[in-house]
C-alpha cells in the first residue's frame, strides 16, 4: 500500500443546536485515494462539500464515521480517530494546507508569516526567511511589502502570501482550496509551475479549482463530489 491518502466511507453532518437542532448532512460515503506525485481535483457545484472534505483531511472538521487514512512518518494513521496531539504532529510533518483565506496574526511581517511553518519545523530563521523571500519574489510580491503585515494587502496579494506559506515546506501532502481564485493570468501560471514541481518531488495533492483551464493543467484525476452528496 503506497497511497498517501486513503479515505473510506467518510461521513460528515452538522447539527445546528441554535436552529432547533436541525441536522445538515454534508457528505457521506466519501471514498478515494491519492498516490505520491499525484494531484486529485475535487469537482462539483458550490455546496457539494468539497471544502468540507479538505477540512476533514486536515483534521479541521470532525468525521462522524468512516476512515481517513494518512501516511505519516512511515505508518498509516486514521485522522478520523486521532488524538489532537497526533493531528498536530501530522500537520507539522505531513500535511500542508492552503486555505481560501489568509488567517495571520496581526502585526507580523509578511516574510515571517510565510517563513513560520519552516521555523516551526526547526529550520533557522535566516534560512527560512531567505526561502520565504524567494517564494514571495516568484509570486510577484514586491520586496518593499515584505516587512509589512499582509492584512493591508489586496485580496490577490493576500492569496499569494497564503500560497507561499503553504508551498514553503517540504511536506508529502498538500491540500489546496481554490489557490488561483483571485489571481491574474501571470500568477496563475506561477501556481501551476509550483504544483508541477511539487508533483516531481512526489507530493500528493488534493485541490479544489473552479477555473477549467487550471484544472486541466494540474489535475491527474478528477473525483466528482456530487456522488458523495448526503442531502436526501
Amino acid at each position: 500500500m503506497t497511497a498517501m491518502i486513503e479515505i473510506n466511507n467518510a461521513q460528515k453532518s452538522f447539527v445546528m443546536h441554535l436552529q432547533g437542532g436541525i441536522e445538515l448532512p454534508v457528505v457521506r460515503g466519501v471514498s478515494f485515494h491519492v498516490e505520491p506525485g499525484e494531484c486529485v481535483v475535487l469537482a462539483g457545484p458550490s455546496g457539494a462539500g468539497k471544502s468540507s472534505i479538505l477540512k476533514m483531511i486536515f483534521g479541521n472538521y470532525r468525521c462522524d464515521s468512516g476512515r481517513i487514512g494518512i501516511r505519516h512518518q512511515g505508518t498509516q494513521i486514521d485522522l478520523a480517530k486521532a488524538e489532537p496531539r497526533q493531528i498536530l504532529s501530522v500537520r507539522r510533518a505531513t500535511i500542508g494546507y492552503v486555505s481560501q483565506f489568509l488567517r495571520a496574526v496581526p502585526r507580523v511581517a509578511t516574510i515571517d508569516v510565510v517563513a513560520e511553518p519552516l521555523i516551526a519545523n526547526g529550520v533557522s530563521r535566516v534560512e527560512a526567511r531567505e526561502k520565504s523571500g524567494q517564494l514571495l519574489r516568484r509570486l510577484n510580491i514586491p520586496e518593499r511589502l515584505w516587512a509589512l503585515p499582509p492584512s493591508t494587502f489586496s485580496g490577490g496579494e493576500q492569496q499569494r502570501v497564503n500560497i507561499a506559506r503553504g508551498f514553503i515546506s517540504d511536506l508529502p501532502i498538500l491540500l489546496l482550496d481554490e489557490p488561483t481564485a483571485s489571481l491574474d493570468a501571470a500568477n496563475r501560471a506561477v501556481v501551476v509551475e509550483l504544483v508541477d514541481s511539487k508533483k516531481r518531488q512526489g507530493v500528493a495533492m488534493v485541490a479544489i479549482v473552479h477555473d477549467d483551464e487550471i484544472r486541466h493543467l494540474i489535475a491527474d484525476r478528477i473525483v466528482d463530489v456530487t456522488s458523495f452528496a448526503a442531502a436526501a
Partner: protein, 270 residues
C-alpha cells in the same frame, strides 16, 4: 518522501505527560465551582480553558497550580527527575521549587504578579536570586536581555513598573516569569485588561516565546480569538464542567455542543 521524514520525529512529541488532572473538583458548601475534570498536558503543549464568567475556569486554574486544595480528585506533575508527583503530597521545599522556578504564573492584573515599587530590573532579578544567583553583574545582564526580549527599552531598567504603561507591565510580568526557564506557565486572562492594539502585540510575543522555549502553558481566557492564536487544544467550560474539548481549530470551526456553538456564533465581526 515519507521515508525521509521518518528520521525526524517532531520534538514536541514527548510521550509522557507533564501534568495530569484526574476527577478534579472543588465545592464551596453546596456550590460546585468545578467538577470531574480530567486531562493530560504534554510538554510544549498550550491548552486554553474558555468559558464565560462563573464557568469555573479560574477555580480550575487555581486547582491546577496548587493554589487551591481540591475537594475531589488530584493533580500530578512530572518533576525534573521524571517522577510524577501528586501536588497535594509535595513537601514545602518542592512546592517552593515549583513556584519559584519550574512554573510561571501570569496574572491578568500585572500588579498582582509584580512588585510595583521596585525597579524592573529587580523584578526580573528577584526570581534569579530566589534560585541562588548572587552575581550582581550577571543578574543585571540577564534581566536586561529579558527586557529586550519582551521589547522593553533597556533604558527603563531602573524604573519601577508603576511608571510603565499597562502593556509594558504585562510584558515585564512575562519576563519575570520566564527568566528562570520554567517548563509550565499558567496564564489568567493575560490580555484581559489591555487595549486591542496592545493585545495583538502581546499575543504575538507570547506565541513566539512559547514556541521558542518549548513551554507548556495553560491559558484561561474568555476570548476565543486569544485561544485560537495561542493554543493547540481547548477545553470549553460551563457550570463547572468541561463540556467540549479537542484541537483548538476543530472546536472553534466545528463546534458540537450547543453552548460551544452559541459561544462561537456570538463573536462580533470586526
Amino acid at each position: 518522501m515519507a521515508e525521509t521524514k521518518m528520521a525526524e520525529t517532531g520534538n514536541g512529541d514527548s510521550d509522557q505527560p507533564l501534568l495530569t488532572a484526574e476527577g478534579l473538583g472543588k465545592s464551596y458548601g453546596h456550590l460546585m465551582a468545578c467538577r470531574d475534570v480530567s486531562f493530560a498536558l504534554y510538554p510544549g503543549e498550550v491548552l486554553a480553558i474558555v468559558g464565560e464568567s462563573g464557568s469555573g475556569k479560574s477555580t480550575l486554574l487555581q486547582l491546577l497550580s496548587a493554589q487551591l486544595t481540591p475537594s475531589a480528585g488530584s493533580v500530578s506533575y512530572r518533576m525534573r527527575d521524571g517522577v510524577m508527583r501528586d501536588l497535594a503530597a509535595l513537601g514545602e521545599a518542592e512546592r517552593r521549587f515549583l513556584f519559584r522556578t519550574d512554573w510561571g504564573y501570569v496574572h491578568q492584573d500585572p500588579a498582582m504578579g509584580l512588585r510595583m515599587a521596585v525597579s524592573a530590573g529587580a523584578n526580573v532579578g528577584e526570581r534569579l536570586m530566589a534560585v541562588g544567583w548572587n552575581h550582581y553583574g550577571r543578574i543585571r545582564d540577564t534581566a536586561s536581555s529579558w527586557l529586550e526580549r519582551v521589547e522593553i527599552d533597556t533604558g527603563r531598567i531602573d524604573d519601577a513598573p508603576r511608571t510603565y504603561s499597562g502593556g509594558m507591565r504585562q510584558r515585564l510580568q512575562i519576563a519575570r516569569n520566564l527568566v528562570t526557564e520554567p517548563r509550565l506557565v499558567f496564564m489568567d486572562e493575560p490580555t484581559g485588561g489591555l487595549d486591542v492594539s496592545v493585545q495583538a502585540r502581546l499575543l504575538d510575543l507570547m506565541r513566539n516565546l512559547v514556541s521558542e522555549l518549548g513551554l507548556a502553558a495553560i491559558v484561561v481566557t474568555h476570548d476565543l480569538a486569544v485561544a485560537r492564536l495561542l493554543s493547540h487544544r481547548v477545553m470549553v467550560m460551563k457550570g463547572g464542567r468541561v463540556i467540549e474539548t479537542g484541537l483548538t481549530d476543530q472546536v472553534l470551526d466545528d463546534p458540537c455542543e450547543p453552548y460551544t456553538q452559541l459561544l462561537v456564533s456570538s463573536i462580533l465581526p470586526a
